[in-house]
């Protein structure tokens, strides 16, 4: 690990923060086009963030220090988790902390403070949103871990950088377990990032909102940080799915040419993922909240089948 590695690692972390609103804007734009609207420009999320950062921050009288600190903790934890996932190269300094269980832990920390902040002010919506968020994530977490275990059992490592390296070497193989793990992780990602059909990111309808209910009391830069963290989480899951299951194009060294190629590859992959997400959000309707367990049970079933088919069909040979 030399100084250049650290610079690129830092650059990658900044790239995550800078690119997150762009992915959200791209998906917004696509959804608008699919609904026959012209839609806002794909730079709109940046303008929104800028506007929120320059606005005054108001707080409820009942708000405690938790409410004040939560946006910073949520944003920092999410950003740290994102920065650990190899975006451009598997040979960066951040590869050492790219452990999937640590990443799941960081995301859980962010979620914990998000839910606390939701309950802190004492409004009905905040508490409701927090309890719903916990309800969904308690079901999503086992599915995510089992799906991840399928990967780690195949690659014999919980480190994402080694998993990606392993997949890159054996990328011509058809693995039934990966197919199931991918399907399970997609469902988990949809639930965790609060997209349709589990949660609608654009609604403020009191009966259905989950994520929006928790951040209803925030304004100004606090709200900006919360929104930014949500966009980062979407990008994080997108990169996780793209780079782990479709690792083609990612650099295995830190040469500038390879990094540029890797950037191009991940941008293409994320653009395609955005199209898939926008189409699925257009054709699907949001589920009732109490259908969410069935949805996440399916994710768990897929993940478990992935694990079992790895043991039955791939190891026992």
């Amino acid at each position: 690990m030399n100084a250049i590695d650290w610079e690129i690692t830092l650059l990658q972390a900044l790239l995550y923060a800078a690119a997150a609103p762009l992915l959200a804007g791209w998906i917004h734009k696509l959804k608008a086009r699919l609904q026959n609207r012209r839609g806002a420009s794909i730079w709109q999320p940046y303008r929104d963030l800028y506007k929120l950062f320059s606005k005054e921050t108001r707080m409820a009288h009942t708000a405690s220090i938790v409410f004040r600190a939560a946006p910073y903790i949520v944003f920092a934890a999410t950003w740290l988790a994102a920065a650990a996932i190899p975006l451009l190269s598997t040979r960066l300094a951040s590869a050492a902390m790219a452990d999937v269980i640590a990443i799941a832990g960081l995301l859980a920390l962010a979620r914990f403070f998000l839910a606390l902040a939701g309950m802190d002010v004492g409004t009905a919506f905040g508490g409701m949103g927090a309890s719903r968020e916990m309800f969904v994530s308690a079901l999503a977490e086992p599915a995510m871990l089992v799906a991840v275990f399928t990967l780690t059992m195949t690659a014999h490592s919980t480190n994402l950088a080694s998993v990606i390296d392993f997949n890159l070497q054996a990328s011509s193989l058809l693995r039934p377990s990966y197919m199931f793990a991918l399907a399970g992780l997609i469902l988990v990602a949809v639930a965790e990032t609060g997209r349709i059909p589990v949660d609608n990111p654009t609604t403020h309808l009191e009966l259905t909102m989950i994520h929006e209910a928790m951040i209803l009391e925030y304004s100004g830069r606090h709200l900006a940080l919360m929104e930014w963290a949500a966009q980062l989480k979407l990008l994080l899951y997108g990169v996780l799915l793209c780079n782990v299951f479709f690792p083609w194009g990612i650099a295995v060294d830190t040469a500038p040419g390879a990094l540029a190629g890797s950037l191009l590859a991940i941008v293409l992959k994320l653009l395609l993922l955005g199209v898939a997400l926008a189409v699925s959000e257009t054709v699907l309707a949001k589920m009732r909240l109490f259908r969410a367990p069935a949805f996440l049970n399916l994710a768990l079933l897929l993940a478990l089948l992935g694990l079992l088919s790895h043991v039955i069909l791939e190891v026992g040979l």
Binding site: P176, E314, L317
Partner: protein, 227 residues
């Protein structure tokens, strides 16, 4: 032997076998009869595809024939017949969700693990790679059995029975390069005849207990004629 050494054809076969197992679970959890019939049809398509792949891999020509037979019978004819029956019985809007879906799924997963455990000595013998598919086929058979046990609706039970047959066929094809053609034709016609008989029975059952919920048969009592 490891996955890396298998040719692409056999890797594809493993993937398809895994998807067959998944369709079994879909069938098990399906609340709507029409959707369950579709899942069963897809399972038939997948089994036919595995058969065709085995045929292409081994060069046995009669397997192509049995693949075509499977496709025609299990993916098209039987689902079509069931579809027609369901429409004539006016059950196409019928919904019967599982009472405890998570528990049933866990039971089915336990059956998968059990069938793997049963097949382990076979695999240890270092035989054909397709022995692994035997575990999957056994799991499909047992899941079909589980479906017959937990479903109280007669049509759903028949679907479970038919998917058991799919599992057996998958085992035969992948393990022993298929049965002789005469046996296969016999089994195919057996299944067809069974299907026709089931169709007749559905109407009989409904006429006598006014429902296709066979659970009600438990409540039948012998009426003692006092006269």
């Amino acid at each position: 032997m490891s996955l890396e050494q298998l040719p692409l054809l056999q890797q594809l076969m493993l993937v398809l076998a895994a998807v067959v197992m998944f369709t079994s679970f879909v069938l098990l959890e399906q609340a709507r009869l029409v959707a369950a019939i579709h899942a069963f049809a897809w399972q038939g398509v997948l089994v036919a595809m595995v058969t065709a792949l085995v045929a292409a891999g081994s060069g046995l020509e009669h397997l192509f024939f049995s693949a075509a037979l499977t496709l025609a019978l299990k993916a098209l004819l039987i689902p079509w017949m069931l579809h027609r029956l369901v429409r004539r019985l006016e059950l196409d809007r019928h919904r019967e969700p599982l009472r405890r879906p998570a528990l049933v799924i866990m039971a089915a997963l336990a059956l998968v693990i059990f069938s793997y455990w049963v097949v382990t000595p076979l695999v240890a013998e270092e035989l054909l790679f397709t022995r692994n598919i035997v575990a999957v086929s056994l799991a499909v058979v047992l899941t079909g059995l589980l479906m017959m046990v937990i479903r109280t609706q007669a049509v759903a039970q028949v679907l479970g029975f038919m998917s058991m047959e799919n599992g057996l066929f998958l085992a035969a094809v992948s393990d022993t390069d298929g049965m002789p053609l005469a046996v296969e034709l016999g089994v195919a016609f057996d299944v067809l005849v069974a299907m026709i008989l089931f169709g007749v029975f559905f109407f009989q059952i409904r006429e006598s207990i006014d429902s296709l919920d066979v659970d009600r048969m438990n409540r039948l009592t012998e009426r003692v004629d006092e006269s």
